[in-house]
């Protein structure tokens, strides 16, 4: 399905925006060409495909309710972003061009419950905002930050983003939400449904069906507040930075980490990355080769040597009480030695001790330096992800790696991969580094991604998250029983949002009015 639905007329859009400006004020209504550029996708395959009509920035849930009612009355689609920094997945841009972006950046309330290690947040709070809030008050609670921490804490959890601590699966830390529904009604989930319950951020389910995950990666409502669990600062952090020399070491490395993760010796979400994931932050391509196509083995060897990188690397971390961490260090060291790492550097940190910015991610400190990879080709770049869900099997992951690497070579792309452990699954987060200054290069990206998605689908591997251009394609892979899941999503969508105004096309979920236009 695509966005072939007849768009609202210019007159309707103007009228809608004027009504919205009446709610948020002219100073929070953005409709110049420059505004529309700024709210478009920064890492686009086609920069013109997802241009919004305008953006509005409410400051309260009540304003969000009013804006939703206006959108419904005029049948104008709105696309909600928390801070609009979802680089690699569409940034602030809507699936449907000429939507009005609902930018929640200015909703920035933070309410921390220190004793219970929870926070109630509005969507405009970024990782840096929350980090500063906690640091300036000496509150010993930690975040779980993604590799680029520019965005919203809530937004990241709502898109199932990942961090690197024991709280690394950010969507699992959600506990209780306030949600504006497409008709402007407002609901609080979990214990929040009981007015004044002291346990809104403590018990995830309340009574009856638990709705939180229905507002994750969906377009059923607008989350205006959400609770998150924060990690109490541990007594000590220890672990190893491990480098493995050979390509074929991936399988054994996965088979060593998997059982320790499932057993709970490892409680963080370790991410195995290839040499390129580390190197493309530190250097640019032109320093090594002027040849187009995938990097040759010689060039790879030279870059690895320069930066002391294995083909694969992983940072394993243990957190908690000293005695427990010591016991688990012994277990970890023995297990790793058995697969003969190229290098294995111990790490240790106690509260108050300094650490380098590159170590901060494992202690929940926000960072942006990994985005230096955008400069890999020397000019304007970016990335787009291909992230199928695998099992924690070294053999199957090696097979998927071999297939994927062969495709990267076939399409002349430089291979960036990571394998991120969940508690049971393995996310194979691949990045395609973009060269936005090279139109010929950019033309290869779309067929390349579609090939990767089709390959993975054959093996039962679907993606956990997608760029706005691939939401339909990815959703289409989840097609058991003649797309029963999509049909269910559509039934819920139609019941909650009969006019079809909230983020049409998000995660491949289209309102009825758009579905009538036929499939792409």
């Amino acid at each position: 399905m695509d966005a072939s639905h007849a768009p609202p007329s210019a007159a309707t859009l103007d009228k809608t925006l004027k009504a919205m400006a009446g709610v948020v004020g002219a100073a929070a209504t953005f409709a110049t060409q420059e505004d529309c550029d700024a709210y478009s996708d920064r890492f686009p395959i086609d920069p013109h495909r997802h241009r919004p009509f305008a953006a509005v920035a409410p400051t309260s849930a009540e304003q969000v309710q009013a804006l939703v009612r206006i959108a419904a009355a005029h049948r104008v689609p709105i696309w909600t972003v928390s801070r609009g920094k979802n680089l690699g997945y569409g940034t602030a841009a809507p699936v449907v061009a000429s939507s009005i972006v609902l930018d929640l950046s200015r909703m920035q309330q933070i309410t921390v419950d220190v004793e219970n290690a929870t926070v109630l947040l509005e969507p405009g709070v970024g990782f840096y905002d929350l980090y500063d809030y906690l640091q300036t008050r000496n509150i010993p609670l930690w975040l779980s930050v993604p590799g680029n921490s520019w965005g919203s804490v809530i937004g990241n959890a709502l898109d199932r983003g990942l961090g690197y601590t024991p709280y690394g699966e950010n969507t699992r830390n959600l506990c209780g939400m306030e949600v504006v529904l497409p008709d402007g009604d407002m609901v609080r989930t979990g214990m929040g449904a009981m007015p004044n319950a002291p346990s809104w951020q403590l018990h995830k389910y309340g009574y009856g069906p638990a709705w939180d995950q229905l507002f994750v990666q969906s377009n059923f409502g607008i989350v205006t507040k959400a609770g998150m669990w924060l990690m109490p600062q541990p007594q000590i952090v220890r672990g190893f930075d491990v480098e493995m020399d050979r390509m074929e070491d991936l399988g054994p490395l996965i088979d060593v980490i998997g059982p320790l993760r499932r057993e709970g010796v490892l409680q963080q979400s370790p991410t195995i990355g290839n040499w390129f994931r580390a190197a493309n932050i530190l250097t640019t391509r032109k320093q090594w080769t002027d040849k187009a196509g995938s990097l040759s083995d010689d060039v790879i060897a030279a870059i690895r040597k320069q930066f002391g990188l294995g083909w694969w690397g992983v940072s394993l971390r243990l957190y908690g009480r000293e005695t427990v961490v010591q016991a688990n260090m012994d277990i970890l060291e023995k297990a790793l030695n058995a697969i003969k790492p190229m290098s294995m550097k111990p790490f240790s940190w106690r509260p108050g001790e300094p650490f380098t910015p590159t170590q901060g991610g494992w202690m929940g400190v926000p960072m942006t330096f990994p985005l230096q990879s955008a400069n890999w080709f020397g000019g304007r770049g970016g990335h787009i992800g291909f992230s199928p869900v695998l099992t924690q099997s070294g053999k199957l992951a090696m097979e998927q790696f071999n297939r994927t690497y062969a495709r990267y070579k076939e399409f002349g792309m430089d291979y960036q991969a990571s394998f991120a452990f969940g508690e049971r699954h393995l996310l194979n987060v691949n990045a395609i580094l973009l060269n936005l200054d090279d139109p010929q290069f950019m033309k290869r990206v779309d067929p390349f991604l579609r090939t990767l998605i089709a390959d993975a689908r054959q093996h039962g591997y679907g993606e956990y998250r997608a760029h706005i251009d691939y939401m339909d394609t990815v959703a289409d892979c989840y097609d058991y029983n003649n797309h029963a899941l999509r049909r269910l999503n559509e039934r819920v969508k139609d019941a909650l949002d009969p006019v079809g105004i909230l983020s049409p096309g998000k995660s491949g979920i289209w309102p009825a009015a758009y579905r009538k236009e036929g499939k792409a």
Partner: protein
């Protein structure tokens, strides 16, 4: 590291420095420093094109306010444009005043 910087700011506030400059400095910290601070992406990439010691924007003495505002709104190379929802025109003007050290 950011915590340390903030403590420095707090003591500056107590010294009662000029309100407008302070606002710009604080806003720079809130809105820009994630990329243009010590270990940020912007500083890392600028250090590839100029002397590393002047790669952090606060160390520059060649920025005009008009340039800062334009750069932020339309983006430069790998810097994305900063939306007006994120940083209002008034906030950006303060930041630009602070970074330009008074140059128009």
């Amino acid at each position: 590291m950011r915590g340390v910087i903030l403590l420095g700011l707090a003591s500056l506030i107590s010294l009662g420095a000029q309100a407008a400059d302070l606002d710009g400095k604080m806003l720079f910290h809130q809105k820009c420093e994630m990329c243009h601070g010590a270990a940020g992406m912007g500083t890392g990439l600028l250090a590839r094109r100029m002397k590393p010691e002047v790669a952090p924007l606060e160390k520059r003495d060649d920025l005009s306010a008009a340039y800062v505002e334009r750069a932020a709104r339309i983006g430069i190379l790998n810097m994305p444009p900063i939306t007006r929802g994120d940083v209002s025109d008034a906030q950006l003007a303060s930041i630009a005043r602070y970074l330009s050290k008074g140059k128009p």
